[in-house]
Symmetry: C2
Subunit: 99 residues, 2 copies
């Protein structure tokens, strides 16, 4: 039985979401523009996938002012980091099982 399928998280079943988590796993937090540039995403696409990840509790958002300018930054939650690690090990099992 291909167990890895049941360990793959539906919340990460999208390239952009994989990209978002991959950036947030290796940084404390990242603001919208940094995510947009590093992932080559459009505003709308990035905003909708960030919202979906927030809804699942895997990403948190913080709004603050940097000088006079409003700034929105995103971080992976502890729950998000754990879920993504689990997803990555299921992907590793997939890769090993497909060689």
């Amino acid at each position: 039985m291909k167990d890895f399928i049941h360990h793959l998280d539906k919340a990460f079943e999208n390239r952009l979401r994989l990209g978002i988590m991959s950036v947030l796993m290796v940084t404390e937090s990242a603001d919208f523009n940094h995510l947009k540039e590093s992932l080559g995403a459009t505003d709308g696409n990035l905003a909708s996938h960030l919202k979906a990840l927030e809804k699942t509790g895997y990403v948190s958002m913080e709004k603050r002012f940097v000088g006079r300018k409003p700034n929105t930054s995103y971080s992976a939650t502890e729950q998000g980091r754990e879920a993504f690690k689990k997803h990555l090990s299921a992907l590793e099992a997939l890769i090993k099982g497909s060689m």
Copy 2:
């Protein structure tokens, strides 16, 4: 820039499709029931994802009789094998970049 995103294939952006390809990468061909049992999938879900993979040219289907009984078997095409290998290496880059 997170290049791996652009090397991830949208056709494989689904757990069951990953499972189908993973089975077909290590077998010459597999019939519908074998795929259904080894992936724990429902008839409808499996049929629709197999059809989608056929449409992209990544999977081929063969209908024949085994004794008196009709049998439908599926195989990964050469194109499908190449595309899935490329997808897996992009996933490996994702995993490495998220540690």
